[in-house]
Amino acid sequence: MTNIKMHVLVCGGTGCTSSRSMEIVDALRAEIKAQGLADEVKVVIAGCFGFCEKGPIVKISPDNTFYVQVTPEDAKEIVAEHIVKGRKVSRLLYVDPKTTEHISDSKHMDFYKKQLRIALRNCGFIDPENIGEYIARDGYMALGKAIFEMSPKQVVDEVKKSGLRGRGGGGFPTGLKWEIAASYKADQKYVICNADEGDPGAFMDRSVLEGDPHSIIEAMAICGYAIGASKGVVYIRAEYPLAVERLQKAIVAARETGLLGNNILGSDFSFDIDMYYGAGAFVCGEETALIRSLQSERGEPTSKPPFPAESGFWGKPSNVNNVETFANIPVILLKGADWFASIGTAKSKGTKVFALAGKVNNVGLVEVPMGTTLREVIFDIGGGIRNGKKFKAAQTGGPSGGCLTEKFLDTPIDFDNLIAAGSMMGSGGMIVLDEDDCMVNVAKFYLGFTVEESCGKCTPCRVGNKRMLEMLEKISAGKATEKDLSRLRELATIIKDTSLCGLGQTAPNPVLSTLDNFYDEYLAHVRDKRCPAGKCKSLMQYVIDPAKCKGCTMCAKVCPAGAIAGKVKEPHVISQEKCVKCGACFATCKFGAISKR
């Protein structure tokens, strides 16, 4: 028997490591050794806990103490107080913003209460680099069950019955996709994992790969068994170095353990996985472009049909699923399709991971059952809007999605409701906007992204989106008319209808959705030449209130453009022609005489 009485889990995700969590690990280990406790206390580098807002996170088991915003300098105190003497370090506990009470167990935090972690089940719980810990948590048991207790068709049927839909954006039924791929006969088929996570702000796939890489390997092998493929390919972006490293190690460990390779678990089934690195092009998240990129061709989509299930990687039948989709597979096989289908809404089963970001208090990764409302995600789990500001909209679905306004706060989130509300699930990015955000600016941001990422193959996307972006720029510069708004909508609709792939077909969504929900704001820009949120620089004016100005000359001194004139002790005036709207005068004035309008 071991003498280990305590596990100290330190978050080793990308977020926390960039806040020195590996130094915390070293400091904890050194201090534990110094106290002579190396045989009794184990420090484990775990995956992402999701509560990135409060990272780095250190969790102590079995007493479930959850320390937040820990620094390497705190290690000594944690060891001396908590580990040696059993006293919790109160100052490092999470403080509930509503009650201002210290909460030591994460189970009692609003951030975790409403979450249901299926895809993220092992993230922040196991050491991702230790295959043994994954196996201890039923790892590879689903693969064993599939190979020895189920026929490939039964596996496909089970996935179909679960109602799992693709988590990468499209929401296509996973079981159906497998069935189609299984139906083609070929000497070689491929299972492809799409780990080219590209939506701005989304990082759930990265976290799963970093925190639970074996779940993806196991799921890909299960898929291989189901569709009759012996080769797996992971297309991962090279800009995820930690995820690449952990997945690589996991593949090696799985091979060494005999869970990848020939005759897995003594059966006739053989399967192995290769990794390919993408250069980070958004369009390569589209499956046909991804496959072309895998073949060392330009990352451009091809028209479907033929679908990859018929003719994919090297012309062979291929099944492409996203990381989060795969992460659900082992659980579905072990717990059963009925269990999975009991979670969620009528047509969207299971859970969805959202990357909560923007003007919300608790930024992080949250996994909730489908059908949870936006209000629950933003106000209960997310802790509401930062600095007590007013909620304006939530942008979901990334550059292909749209904005959900206040009237959708109580809509249950699932694939179909989001589409009905003019947005989409996408890969699960959720960016919260407050009253200070200008919606024209938001549309411009996302469109700027897609224009940058367009592969240039088809005209509507290459040229159309660029023209739309120019129109938006014209609007925020105050040079557009109402006619431009109707032309903008017309062009958006044409691009949507005529683009070749998902990127172009969805690129106008942020524009259309903001036009639909915030038409007044667009009108203010074109008719009144005013930006209600005060974000569009060209439409903003800094003015001096002559009644408040004391003529101290400070503003004139700091103005880099020489736009402020006036005599000492007399009210000054800003020349709007010369003003570059840098705001230096506004920040300098001690009398509050300068205002934005």
Partner: protein
């Protein structure tokens, strides 16, 4: 790690690996387990609390008990009776025992931990902690 060559091998490996994450699993289900909190104040440690904790963990493992979890707590103020141990049976009020060492460990295991029967040497709890 040896190669697993059959489903049986995998099951064996799982059983062998169970203790790797057992403490964390227990932490997640702590409400359903018998929690033994050993008071680790300076006087407790001086009186042998660390040895008591080790001995109790060994006793539990000897008895093959899986439904028990050991944690540490701070000074409880019962310096006269160290080492002190608080035991929380699921859904029941905590009970604190004083002078827990040697023979008393087996006694507490035999009666309170196994059957929920009280033994002599209980310290009446007059306070609650914010973590309760």
């Amino acid at each position: 790690m040896d190669k697993v060559k059959s489903l049986d091998d995998l099951r064996k490996l799982k059983a062998a690996m169970q203790n790797a994450t057992e403490l964390r699993e227990k932490g997640q289900n702590i409400d359903k387990l018998i929690e033994v909190k050993v008071s680790m104040a300076t006087c407790g440690i001086a009186a042998g609390a660390r040895e008591t904790m080790a001995a109790m963990m060994e006793e539990a493992s000897k008895r093959g008990m899986k439904n028990i979890v050991f944690t540490q707590s701070g000074c409880m103020g019962y310096c006269h009776s160290e080492p002190t141990v608080t035991i929380v049976r699921p859904g029941e009020e905590p009970v604190t025992f004083g002078d827990v060492k040697g023979q008393r460990i087996t006694e507490i295991f035999d009666s309170y931990i196994a059957k929920g029967e009280l033994v002599d040497g209980i310290i009446p709890l007059a306070s609650k902690s914010i973590h309760d």
